[in-house]
Homo-oligomer: 198 residues x 2
């Protein structure tokens, strides 16, 4: 079954036509990755549970895979502006939370709900090699399921996560002669052993 | 002095008119942050030093601030597709590297070169409170300086950085009942003490 984009476009994710969101995912992420599309429905669900009013919220992705891009495409939160944090917990879950008090909404993939969605289950648990799964059929099932495979809960963030620390003073590293946050110590972290380079 | 966008638009960053890049930064990052604009010129410089030909490259940002968004806007590398890694080294530097062998190009802000660019120096070292600095004058100086405040070097990435590890099997956490990478141990990292929630 081919994805019927004329139908998709009538539906919305965070007030964006689904077809337009799919195109944005393709442009930004490089492919219509199932995890980013499903992530879009998760962000949409979280948004609908946020308290109304003009709250400033930040975001957490509990995995490095796919979800951060759905968050960056659908919310004001990006890695570079610091409003999105990525934690490498390996759970397919995200939270949006009020940055003033840490009260938030968490959405996660509820694997118990995957029994009715065999394509999503097969993809998520890698029950078939990627080449053996039909991407179009999988995407159709994601667009049918929307957030039915997810669960939503209220959460309260730990203060060390939601309280913003201002960047302190910079100093010049005596080894590489580049600037780095003085709080990191007597030399920059790269010169203290964390360099990614040979 | 007002930024003359008619002049800016004739110049390019990674083949995109500078004016269009500035608009993309505003839309994605939420503001025309000096760090993302300067980051654009840094990505452009790195691109121009990459070997020609169809190489697949990944990216590293050595800081969480601003640079990741310049990379995500100008390259195929994003956080969610795994081609961009963000290291919290606190150095204003980025690398693009061949993902097959780890050979790459690193661009960093050379603070010795800031002596001729007082607005950039004042902003980078926070020599004035943010409110006391004129954003338009600073952005004009960044567009004048382009990558003149940067240095470029060849680098070789450590194998543990550039060799892609495939995600292994998933299992269900006995505590939260959510799925997580089996490689993380007997329970998921969140339930093992790394939860961001109260």
């Amino acid at each position: 079954m081919q994805t019927d984009t004329s139908t998709l476009s009538k539906e919305t994710i965070c007030s964006i036509a689904v077809g337009d969101f799919v195109q944005r995912v393709k442009d930004f992420h490089g492919a219509t990755a199932p995890g980013v599309i499903l992530g879009g429905y998760m962000v949409d669900l979280a948004y609908r549970h946020l308290p109304t009013g003009d709250i400033l919220f930040d975001a957490i992705s509990e995995t490095r895979a796919c979800l951060p891009d759905a968050i960056q495409l659908l919310t004001p939160c990006t890695i570079g502006n610091g409003w999105l944090k990525v934690l490498d917990l390996g759970r397919f879950a995200l939270s949006l939370y009020d940055k003033s008090n840490g009260n938030g909404i968490r959405v996660f993939l509820d694997t118990a709900k995957l029994e009715s969605f065999s394509e999503i289950k097969t993809w998520f648990f890698k029950l078939k090699p990627k080449q053996a799964q039909d991407l179009e059929v999988l995407l159709d099932e994601i667009h049918t399921a929307r957030s039915q495979v997810c669960e939503v809960t209220s959460v309260k963030l730990k203060p060390e996560i939601f309280v913003t620390r201002r960047r302190g003073a910079f100093r010049i590293c005596p080894i590489c002669h580049e600037s780095y946050p003085a709080a990191h110590g007597n030399s920059c972290r790269a010169c203290s052993g964390e360099t990614p380079y040979l």
